[in-house]
C-alpha cells in the first residue's frame, strides 16, 4: 500500500458510485470525489484530514463526526451570491464543480497566524476578557475590542444577495415521525396501521439510519419496512427533510432540501414546511459522545461511529493504523469494520475493567489486542495523530506504553437526540444505568388539549441496543467523563469538550470554582455548547465535568435549554418567497398604472403607494409640488383619493352607534349631507378623522384616512361584537369597491359639467358638505362636495373598475383648463395653508381633539362617546396641554418640521424646558412664504408672542404665534 491515509479504500462504500467521478475544489486545489460522497468523505479520500481551525486557539481541526453534530469540518461553500459560510462538510452531498474553502485561518489552513493563540492559551482561560482590558477606559473601544472583533466569526461574510428560490408549504398529519431509522419506520408502520395520516421525515437522503451499518441484515429489515409503508394509504415518506423545531400546539417546522447546491433546475432550493402535527414521534436516534483525554482534538481522532460510517458508507479510510478507545461495546463494531476493510487495528483501549460480550469476543477472535481498564493519556502529534500514550483509567496518567497509530476512534457512549422533545417544554430524565438523559414520558410537551404531544422511540428514547427485531446484547457502558479518572491539571488543560469554541475541562472547572455554578452560567462563561453545533457533542460531557467539579450528581446540575433549530436553518429559507416584489403585498388603486406612466414619485402609505408628486422633465419633487399646488389654486387638479377608507354603517341602531364612534353628533346629520367627524380611542386620543355622509335614514358612509380603513372597520366591529352585540348595526368595508377622485380648484365645476352627468352640480343644488348620486360621463357616481384643499372641490366615487376611465375622461376634458394631477404632498401643503389638521402630522397618538382646537367637533349634548371618559382625566384637563396654533417664522425661513420651542429654563434632569413644537411646516407656494402649525403651551392665549426654536447647530430660529388659518380664512373659495 503506497497511499498515505486518509485515502479511498479499494473496495466497499455502500453509498458511492465508483464509476461517477466528480471534480471539486478545496482551497484552490482541484480534487475528485465520487457520486454519493459527502464533502467530508471526498476530502478524506483525497488525503485531506485537516479541514479547518478552531475558533479561539486556531488549533488544527479535522472531522470528528460524520453527521449533523460535526463541529469542526465547516467550509465556505460556493461563490458570489451562492457563497455560504460554515457549511457542514459531513452533511453536504458532493456536487460536481463545488468550490470550497477552509475557514478561520490566514494566510492559509497550514500556515495560520492566529495559531499563536494556542501558545498563549494559559493567558486565555474561560472568561479572561471579563477580567482584563478594563483600563485605560478608551482602550476597550479603540484597541482591545477591534482586535477581538477582527478575530470573531468563523466563515467569511457573504457579500451578494442569494439568487436562489425558496418556498414554504403547509402540511397536516395525524402523526409525524421524525427520523427514518428502524425505530422511526417501525413506529410509522404501527401508527399507520391504526389509520390516519402519517408523515415520516428523514434528514438524510437515505433511509435506515445506522441500522444497515451496524447490523447484519439491517438493510433487509429497512427495505422490508419501506415496502410495507409504501403500500399503506396515508403514509408520506419524505427524505432530505430536517425537522428543525417543534413549536407550541404541535407546530413542526421542517426544512426540505430540493436543489441544494444545484440551482440549475429552476426549482426552489429549499422548502420550509410548517406542519400541524396531531402527534409527533421522535425517532431521532442518538449521538455518540467523545471521550475527554488529552489532545483528543488532534485531526485523526474521531468518533468511532463516524469512522465506521466513512469506511462503510464511502469506502474511505480515515487512517491506516487505528486505535479504538471506548467505554462500551458498540465501538468494537468500528474495529471489526476497519479490520474487514483491511485496515490495521492496533489496539482497543477499553476503560472498563473487563469486556466480555459478543463484540469484544469477536474482536479478540480477529487477534486484535484489547486493553481493558486502560485509557489514553495523551494523543501525540499536532496536525495529525502519530501515536497514543496508554495509561490506566483508574490513575493519574502514568504512561504504560505508547502505540503508534494514525487515527483514533473514540466512543464515550451515546446520548439520545432529545432536542425536538425538549423544544416546547418536554422534560428529560437522567438514566443512571446508561448515563444519559432521555425524554421523560411523564412530562412530555403538551398540545392544545393539555395532553402529551410527543413521544420518543428507539435510541432517541434511550433504547440503545434495540434496533427493532435486530436487538443484540451489549455489555454495559461505564460512564467515563475524564480519561484517566484522576488526570492532573496538565492533562485536563488539553482535554477538549467543545472542539469549535475551544472549551476544555479546565475551563469548566474554573467556572465552577469561580461560582459560575449554574449550568447556564457555566455555558455562558466558558461558551461551552454555544458553537454552531450547539453542544451536540459537548453538552453531556461538560455537564458531567461541572457536576464533578461541584461534587453533585448530574441530574442536580440539570441541562441547558434546547432551543430550535436542531441544525442551523438558512435565513433565506425562512424568508422563503417573501422577497423582492413578493416581500409585502403592494396595494394599488385603479389608477396606479396611470400614475406610474406619468412618472409619479411614490410615497408608501401603509401597503399602498400613493403619488407624492408628478415631477415633469428635469423638475425636482419640490418644484413639482409647487406647480401642482398653483395649478389647483388657479385652475383645477385631480387627486387619487381611492385609498381613503369607505365604511358603510347601516341598521336601526346605526345612529346611536355613530354617536358612540364619533365625538360629533352624527345621528342628527341629514340625509344628503356630510359632516367632518373625529374618532377617538377609549384612551381619549384622536385616532382618525374623515367625512361622514348620511346615505339614507338608516345608513351612514364613513370616510377614514388611508391607513385607517381596516383599522377603523375592525374597531367598529370590535365594539359591535364585544360590547353592544344587541345593537342592530351592520358594517361593510367598501374601500376597494370604489375609486375616488378629488377634483379641486376654481375650475372644478366647469370641468365636471363638461362630462355630462345627471347630477346638478350648482352651488344651490349641491352646496358645500352635501352629496348627490347619479351618473357622470356615463358612469354611476356619488359626488361629495367636500374639500381638503380649501378650494371648490368635488370628490367623486365610482365603481373601482371604472375609476381609470373617469380619471382619463377628466384629463381629456380638462386639458384646456390646465388640469393637473396632484400628489399627497401638494394635498398636505394645501391643507396646511388652510389650517386643517392631518392625522399623523398634528396627531401622534397622544393628542386629544381639544388640543387641536376641535372642541366644536365634540358634541356637548351626548352622554357618551368612545374616549369621552378618558378626556376628563386630570392630565387631559389641567390646562398645561399644548394647543394648536399657527407659527410665522420671523426671518422668512421655513421652520423645521418637528423642532421644539424651548424656554431658558432647565428641568431637574438638566434638560431644557420646552413649550411647544412644530407639527407641519412648509413654504407655501400660494402665499410665497412659510406657513407652519404647531402645538404650544397656552398657545391660543399667546397670539403674537415669539417662540425660540434652538437648532442642533446652535442657531436659534424664532417664530410668532399666529392664527393657524393662513389662506382664505372666510372660506369663500371652498364655498364657491
Amino acid at each position: 500500500m503506497t497511499h498515505v491515509p486518509p485515502f479511498r479504500l479499494p473496495r466497499g462504500g455502500r453509498l458511492i458510485d465508483r464509476s461517477d467521478q466528480l471534480g471539486f475544489r478545496f482551497d484552490g486545489r482541484h480534487l475528485r470525489g465520487l457520486r454519493g460522497d459527502t464533502l467530508a468523505s471526498a476530502l478524506l479520500a483525497n488525503g485531506q484530514m485537516m479541514m479547518g481551525r478552531s475558533f479561539k486557539y486556531h488549533r488544527p481541526r479535522g472531522p470528528v463526526a460524520s453527521g449533523a453534530e460535526e463541529p469542526n469540518a465547516l467550509l465556505g461553500l460556493g461563490q458570489g451570491g451562492r457563497f455560504e459560510p460554515n457549511q457542514r462538510a459531513t452533511t453536504t452531498a458532493l456536487v460536481p464543480g463545488m468550490v470550497t474553502r477552509s475557514q478561520n485561518c490566514w494566510p492559509s489552513l497550514d500556515a495560520d497566524i492566529g495559531a499563536v493563540n494556542d501558545w498563549l492559551s494559559p493567558l486565555l482561560p474561560a472568561g479572561f476578557y471579563y477580567k482584563t482590558f478594563i483600563h485605560p477606559r478608551p482602550f476597550w473601544k479603540h484597541v482591545f475590542e477591534p482586535v477581538i472583533r477582527r478575530s470573531a466569526g468563523l466563515g467569511k461574510a457573504p457579500t451578494d444577495p442569494d439568487p436562489d428560490l425558496y418556498e414554504q408549504a403547509y402540511g397536516f398529519a395525524d402523526v409525524v415521525v421524525v427520523g427514518g431509522g428502524i425505530a422511526g419506520l417501525q413506529a410509522a408502520r404501527d401508527a399507520a396501521a391504526g389509520g390516519g395520516s402519517v408523515t415520516v421525515l428523514e434528514q438524510s437522503p437515505h433511509w435506515g439510519g445506522r441500522t444497515p451499518i451496524d447490523h447484519a441484515g439491517g438493510q433487509d429489515a429497512i427495505d422490508a419496512l419501506l415496502t410495507d409503508l409504501r403500500a399503506m394509504p396515508g403514509v408520506t415518506l419524505r427524505r432530505n427533510c430536517m425537522a428543525t423545531g417543534l413549536y407550541d400546539h404541535g407546530y413542526l417546522i421542517a426544512r426540505e432540501a430540493l436543489a441544494d447546491h444545484d440551482p440549475n433546475q429552476g426549482i426552489p432550493r429549499q422548502r420550509l414546511w410548517r406542519i400541524r402535527a396531531g402527534r409527533v414521534i421522535t425517532a431521532t436516534g442518538a449521538l455518540e459522545r467523545p471521550l475527554s483525554f488529552a489532545c483528543n482534538d488532534v485531526p485523526g481522532v474521531m468518533l468511532a461511529s463516524a469512522m465506521r460510517d466513512f469506511i462503510d458508507l464511502h469506502g474511505v479510510a480515515p487512517g491506516q493504523r487505528i486505535v479504538v478507545v471506548t467505554n462500551n461495546d458498540d465501538a468494537y463494531r468500528t474495529a471489526l469494520i476497519a479490520a474487514d476493510a483491511g485496515l490495521d487495528v492496533a489496539a482497543i483501549v477499553d476503560a472498563r475493567p473487563q469486556a466480555t460480550g459478543d463484540l469484544p469476543q469477536a474482536v479478540r477472535d480477529r487477534g486484535i489486542e484489547v486493553l481493558t481498564g486502560s485509557a489514553i493519556a495523551k494523543v501525540k502529534g499536532r496536525r495529525h495523530v502519530e501515536a497514543v500514550a496508554i495509561c490506566d483509567q483508574d490513575g493519574e496518567g502514568k504512561i504504560t506504553r505508547t502505540v503508534e497509530c494514525d487515527a483514533v476512534a473514540m466512543s464515550g457512549g451515546w446520548s439520545p437526540v432529545v432536542h425536538l422533545y425538549s423544544h416546547c417544554g418536554g422534560k428529560l430524565t437522567w438514566d443512571d444505568a446508561q448515563a444519559l438523559f432521555r425524554p421523560d414520558p411523564d412530562r412530555p410537551p403538551l398540545g392544545a388539549d393539555g395532553q402529551g404531544i410527543a413521544q420518543a422511540v428507539g435510541a432517541a428514547n434511550g433504547d440503545l441496543c434495540c434496533a427493532g427485531d435486530l436487538e443484540r446484547p451489549e455489555g454495559a457502558t461505564m460512564p467515563v467523563w475524564v480519561m484517566p479518572a484522576r488526570a492532573p491539571h496538565k492533562l485536563r488543560a488539553k482535554m477538549w469538550l467543545d472542539y469549535q469554541n475551544d472549551v476544555k475541562v479546565t475551563d469548566v472547572e474554573l467556572a465552577a470554582r469561580e461560582g459560575y455554578a449554574s449550568v447556564e452560567h457555566t455555558k455562558r462563561y466558558t461558551t461551552l455548547g454555544m458553537a454552531t453545533d450547539q453542544g451536540k457533542l459537548s453538552n453531556i460531557n461538560g455537564l458531567a465535568v461541572l457536576s464533578g467539579a461541584l461534587d453533585q450528581p448530574i441530574p442536580a446540575t440539570g441541562t441547558t435549554t434546547f432551543r430550535p433549530p436542531y441544525t442551523p436553518l438558512t435565513l433565506a429559507t425562512i424568508a422563503a418567497d417573501a422577497r423582492g416584489e413578493a416581500f409585502q403585498p403592494l396595494r394599488k388603486t385603479p389608477m396606479h398604472g396611470w400614475h406610474e406612466a406619468k412618472g409619479a414619485s411614490w410615497e408608501p402609505v401603509g401597503h399602498w403607494r400613493r403619488p407624492y408628486a408628478y415631477p415633469q422633465g428635469a423638475e425636482d419633487r419640490e418644484a413639482a409640488v409647487a406647480r401642482e399646488i398653483l395649478a389647483v389654486r388657479k385652475g383645477v387638479g385631480t387627486l387619487d383619493a381611492s385609498t381613503l377608507g369607505k365604511i358603510v354603517v347601516k341598521g336601526p341602531d346605526a345612529g346611536r352607534f355613530m354617536d358612540m364612534m364619533y365625538t360629533n353628533m352624527m345621528s342628527t346629520l341629514k340625509v344628503g349631507r356630510c359632516r367632518y367627524g373625529l374618532m377617538c380611542n377609549e384612551n381619549g386620543f384622536l385616532m382618525d378623522d374623515g367625512v361622514v355622509a348620511r346615505l339614507s335614514d338608516d345608513t351612514w358612509l364613513c370616510h377614514t384616512t388611508t391607513g385607517g380603513a381596516d383599522r377603523i372597520h375592525a374597531h367598529m366591529e370590535d365594539w359591535l361584537q364585544c360590547e353592544w352585540w344587541d345593537w342592530k348595526v351592520f358594517t361593510a368595508n367598501l374601500t376597494e369597491q370604489y375609486a375616488q377622485i378629488a377634483v379641486a380648484g376654481p375650475q372644478a365645476r366647469t370641468l365636471l359639467e363638461r362630462l355630462n352627468g345627471s347630477i346638478d352640480l350648482s352651488a344651490d343644488a349641491l352646496p358645500f358638505m352635501a352629496w348627490a348620486e347619479g351618473d357622470l360621463a356615463g358612469i354611476p357616481a356619488r359626488i361629495f362636495r367636500i374639500s381638503f384643499s380649501g378650494e371648490l372641490s368635488f370628490e367623486i366615487a365610482v365603481p373601482a373598475a371604472r375609476g381609470l376611465e373617469l380619471w382619463e375622461k377628466l384629463h381629456d376634458a380638462g386639458a384646456d383648463l390646465g388640469i393637473t394631477p396632484y400628489g399627497t404632498e401638494a394635498m398636505h401643503v394645501m391643507r396646511a395653508e388652510k389650517g386643517f389638521i392631518m392625522i399623523g402630522d398634528e396627531t401622534d397618538g397622544t393628542i386629544i381633539p381639544q388640543d387641536l382646537g376641535l372642541d366644536w367637533a365634540i358634541s356637548k349634548k351626548k352622554a357618551d362617546y368612545i374616549g369621552k371618559r378618558a378626556q376628563r382625566r386630570l392630565h387631559m384637563v389641567d390646562g398645561t396641554r399644548w394647543k394648536l396654533v399657527g407659527l410665522q417664522s420671523l426671518d422668512g425661513q421655513v421652520l423645521p418640521d418637528g423642532a421644539y420651542a424651548a424656554t431658558d429654563q432647565v428641568n431637574a434632569n438638566g434638560q431644557r424646558v420646552t413649550e411647544g413644537r412644530v407639527t407641519s411646516s412648509y413654504r407655501s407656494p400660494t402665499l410665497d412664504r412659510p406657513v407652519a402649525m404647531g402645538l404650544v403651551r397656552h398657545g391660543p392665549a399667546r397670539m403674537g408672542q415669539v417662540l425660540e426654536f434652538p437648532m442642533p447647530s446652535g442657531a436659534v430660529m424664532k417664530a410668532r404665534i399666529v392664527d393657524p388659518v393662513f389662506y382664505d380664512k372666510e372660506g369663500s373659495r371652498l364655498n364657491g
Binding site: E682, N683, Q721, C722
Partner: protein, 112 residues
C-alpha cells in the same frame, strides 16, 4: 404557533389567521365612572400565570370575535366561545375545572 378553533365557523385557525384582543369580559366604564374605576377598566390587567380568558378575532376568517380560555403557562386551550357574553359559559367552566379544580371564573374574572 397557537391553534384555536373559532366557535363561529368551526375552523381550526392558526395564530397567523387570528388577532388577539387582550383580556376578556372587561366591563366598560363610561362617563359616570370614577377615575379609579376608569383606570381599572383601561389598565389593571389580571395577567395571570394560569387560566386566561382572552379575546381573539378570526381576522383572516369570518371576522368574528371569540373568547378563548387558555393557560398562559402550558398553553392548554380549555375551550373557545362566542364573545357575546359577559361570563364564560358552563361548559367552559367545567372544562377548565376538569384540569384546574380550584379555578373560579367569577373571582378570577372580576376586575377590582
Amino acid at each position: 404557533m397557537l391553534i384555536l378553533t373559532c366557535p363561529h365557523c368551526g375552523i381550526q385557525a392558526e395564530e397567523t389567521e387570528l388577532h388577539n384582543g387582550g383580556e376578556a369580559h372587561l366591563k366598560r366604564v363610561g362617563p359616570d365612572g370614577s377615575d379609579e374605576e376608569f383606570e381599572g377598566y383601561m389598565f389593571a390587567r389580571r395577567n395571570p400565570r394560569g387560566v386566561h380568558l382572552e379575546r381573539w378575532r378570526h381576522a383572516y376568517g369570518c371576522g368574528k370575535w371569540f373568547i378563548a380560555a387558555r393557560c398562559t403557562v402550558t398553553l392548554q386551550v380549555f375551550g373557545t366561545y362566542a364573545a357575546q357574553t359577559t361570563t364564560p359559559p358552563d361548559h367552559i367552566v367545567q372544562a377548565v375545572r376538569a384540569a384546574r379544580p380550584d379555578w373560579n371564573p367569577t373571582e378570577e374574572g372580576a376586575s377590582e
